[in-house]
């Protein structure tokens, strides 16, 4: 089953319709899976395939996708909400490196925290459903080569 079909099923399961507008927005997220797009960015991109789509619809759709746990809403302190598609299995394996020099945001998928989470269960009586782990710092290569000019670097702040 391709990703769109899978998402369509998740919509149907909760009695929501995957309209053409919503599908266009989801497609933008799929096409930019590596990024953490803001509403405005999604809006600009989706306009290419769906010129008449309204900004409020992007807000509403991303909110709905968040409720359905198809995307994760995040905030990196730059004043705008950012959204990230997330596979069901990745909830506990999704971390970030944020470079102070170039602003690049790298996503890391690893199961670093499972031990900690079972420890929270034991020692704090706290059952973890989700977590967030961001590291701020700098790539050693950035510090030496002045990576600010690198076009690959996309600042988030």
């Amino acid at each position: 089953m391709n990703p769109i079909e899978h998402i369509a099923q998740q919509f149907a399961a909760q009695n929501y319709k995957l309209t053409s507008q919503r599908e266009a927005i989801v497609q933008v997220l799929l096409d930019n899976e590596k990024d953490h797009l803001s509403v405005e960015e999604v809006y600009m991109i989706v306009k290419h395939s769906y010129p008449h789509l309204g900004l409020a619809t992007v807000y509403r759709t991303l909110e709905l996708l968040t409720e359905l746990h198809i995307v994760e809403k995040m905030n990196f302190g730059d004043g705008v909400a950012r959204y990230d598609l997330r596979g069901d299995e990745q909830a506990h394996m999704h971390h970030h490196l944020i470079c102070n020099v170039c602003g690049k945001l790298e996503e890391i998928k690893d199961d670093w925290l499972v031990d900690l989470e079972s420890r929270l269960e034991r020692e704090y009586g706290f059952t973890v459903t989700d977590h967030r782990l961001d590291f701020k710092g700098s790539y050693n290569s950035c510090k030496s080569t002045g990576c600010k000019k690198d076009k690959e670097c996309k600042a988030v702040s």
Copy 2:
């Protein structure tokens, strides 16, 4: 040296003055060290000791305290910035538990991530200067007793 004096030194070291308004704001933070106050909350509290203090001054002062690394600015997804005094040594030992049931926010000080951070250094060539680790989930006691009525629980969202 008491905390206010220590902070006064940090101000002086960067050629800023610890005015009476700034001192009143810092005192509010010291008095509520366990909480993560928003600007509006600081504003409401500081009015008791300094009725004429303006909202913009609270914004400016908290911004300045952030620059001086005396407080940490955080965002828990409830649409407002929150601020937390932080000791110099705590940068890498400062995590959160956020309860989905009652909204309580618990602060945990532990050195859980030092191993991970040295691993990032080795495997990613990334030097960590700061991190953020939030766990969302629920206290087992909350789930069973309906902790929403507990006055200790302070919602953040």
